[in-house]
């Protein structure tokens, strides 16, 4: 549905998007993830034909964004980051205007309006002036505007920004319900959102793609390889450390704090998930096992690692090197 090849966008000497290539299949929800200034908004603006690309090729629904821009725009619904609205219009007249501009005919209009206002929870505010709406309702208005002509492709720039938790849940539900029928690209810097909503994640930093995977894939990548387990046990310190170091696969044990009577907090560096082996070693050695866990690495950790990495090109780097 969306093919991006070697996309470059430079503002003067500053390269905002640097040779990005990716594809999005029909019905997929792609999460665009990156810190501020990573190039998310710029990429979206190029895809929506708002900014011309410096070089590279982008095709949406088979149309080239440069040569067949109007055809592309017909098939795209776009929610810009700043949610542009006409504050002097009512919700209904605003949506009517956007629908007409995007080619919705009068005969389809009322049906489209009802559907879109219903799915965005705007039905009871349809006659209110947008200028009188709260930030959350304005955001919904922006989303409704992107959906009103039933586009094949939805491009949403931070759709849940500045919403309260209930509204965020609603908007996420709405977006998830749209998948299948629509191809969606959404940008966010809220990580749990990506896990909840997206089929695929594209992490970008400084205009480059640093990871392209499913949320589960990213998590698995984090879980495999070298680990640092935390273990709490009671007993004589030296004997305990000796017993643990004897376990195959353990490369080091460090004491965090504790004493012989209260037990020790230990960090065990291991080549994998060795919880059973460690537990056996502690129990067989006659020590008291008080706790053992593999700290769950979240997408947050991976995100921070990938985006703060100076080289920034950790795509092919296996996780054990960074763990």
């Amino acid at each position: 549905m969306i093919e991006v090849q070697d996309l470059v966008k430079a503002y003067g000497s500053r390269t905002a998007v640097d040779h990005i290539s990716f594809e999005v299949k029909k019905g997929e929800i792609l999460g665009f993830l990156g810190p501020n200034g990573a190039g998310k908004t710029t990429t979206m603006r190029v895809l929506t034909c708002f900014l011309p690309a410096t070089s590279g090729k982008v095709k949406i629904a088979g149309y080239d964004i440069f040569e067949q821009s109007i055809e592309v725009r017909r098939r795209i619904g776009y929610l810009p980051e700043n949610v542009p609205l006409y504050l002097d219009m009512s919700v209904e007249s605003y949506l009517t205007y956007m629908a007409r501009l995007n080619g919705v005919t009068w005969s389809e209009l009322s049906e489209r309006l009802d559907k879109v206002m219903d799915s965005c929870g705007l039905l009871h505010r349809r006659r209110d002036l947008i200028g009188h709406l709260s930030r959350g309702y304005r955001q919904r208005c922006g989303l409704a505007q992107a959906l009103v002509h039933n586009p094949d492709v939805l491009i949403l720039d931070e759709p849940t920004a500045s919403l309260d938790p209930v509204q965020i849940r609603d908007v996420r539900e709405t977006i998830k319900n749209l998948a299948g029928e629509h191809t969606i690209i959404l940008s966010t810097h809220i990580l749990p959102e990506v896990e909840l909503v997206c089929d695929r994640v594209l992490m970008i930093n400084r205009g480059r793609i640093v990871a392209d995977d499913t949320p589960v894939g990213l998590r698995n990548r984090a879980a495999s390889g070298a680990l640092s387990l935390s273990l709490q046990a009671r007993g004589a310190k030296d004997a305990l450390l000796g017993a643990l170091r004897a376990v195959q696969g353990v490369s080091g044990v460090t004491v965090v704090d504790g004493s012989d009577t209260d037990g020790y907090n230990l960090q065990v560096s291991a080549s994998g998930d060795l919880r059973e082996e460690l537990a056996r070693a502690v129990v067989q050695g006659g020590f008291g096992l008080r706790g053992l866990e593999v700290p769950r690495r979240t997408l947050e950790d991976i995100f921070v690692e990938l985006t703060t990495d100076e080289a920034g090109l950790a795509v092919e780097t296996p996780a054990e090197e960074v763990a």
């Binding site: 900014l51 700043n82 006409y86």
Partner: protein, 240 residues
């Protein structure tokens, strides 16, 4: 065509529901009425609308820029921070359609101003025996003249994010063009040539009841040029 009409419709509605439209309409009615009263009250009053037209053109220079200032500068949103231009430029409409839709809306509202002033023509007809040809010519001249000022205003609105700047630059440059028109009787050829660019030298024929092809062509080309420049400015916001 449909897109042009969709855009024009919204803008016309905004004129009739927003404060700017009412301010312009009240200024127009108040001052045009005052001018009409002063002209009829003068001892040398005759059933001739030319002095009225002559004075109202200056009034138009002052009020019409208030209609155009919002059209494109407001979409950029410097004053309000809305940035709706992003929506328009990612909708399946061309830059020409956008510019023409905006221009059409301001022309339609201007026509409503002119229509209101039609009451003076009716008063002249009832109270005296005016030359109907001159009145019609005068109104046609009004339309062309206003069309020019509105196109100029739209162009300045396309240059800036600020509606205030758009309005002020339009008024100032219209006044400058008005002053330039006084050069047309200057002995210097180059100053005469300069005066040719002023919209004020070109509607005198209309006041005399003559609709000359030459002047119609002048106005149409000037308006086309200004709209084309506005279209270029809108397109350039993609890479500015």
């Amino acid at each position: 065509m449909r897109n042009i009409w969709t855009i024009a419709q919204r803008e016309v509605k905004a004129y009739f529901t927003g404060p700017v439209g009412y301010v312009v309409m009240s200024c127009w009615i108040l001052f045009a009425g005052l001018i009409f009263y002063l002209i009829l009250g003068s001892p040398s009053a005759s059933a001739d609308m030319e002095p009225l037209f002559r004075n109202c053109t200056i009034l138009l220079i002052m009020v019409l820029p208030l209609l155009t200032m919002r059209l494109l500068a407001g979409e950029r949103g410097g004053d309000q921070g809305v940035g709706t231009i992003e929506l328009l430029l990612t909708s399946p409409i061309t830059e020409w359609q956008l510019v023409l839709g905006k221009y059409l809306a301001s022309m339609l509202y201007m026509c409503s101003l002119v229509l209101v002033s039609g009451i003076y023509a009716v008063a002249f007809r009832v109270l005296g025996k005016p030359d109907v040809g001159k009145i019609i010519g005068g109104y046609v001249g009004f339309l062309f003249f206003s069309g020019y000022v509105l196109a100029l205003g739209l162009f300045f609105s396309s240059l800036t994010n600020s509606q205030i700047v758009a309005a002020v630059t339009t008024i100032v440059s219209s006044l400058a063009l008005w002053l330039i028109s006084f050069f047309k009787d200057n002995p210097s050829k180059s100053l005469q040539f300069l005066a040719w660019f002023s919209m004020l030298g070109h509607h005198e024929d209309f006041w005399r009841g003559v609709i000359s092809l030459q002047e119609v062509v002048w106005y149409c080309s000037a308006i086309y040029f200004l709209l084309f420049a506005s279209k270029l400015m809108v397109a350039s916001s993609r890479w500015r």
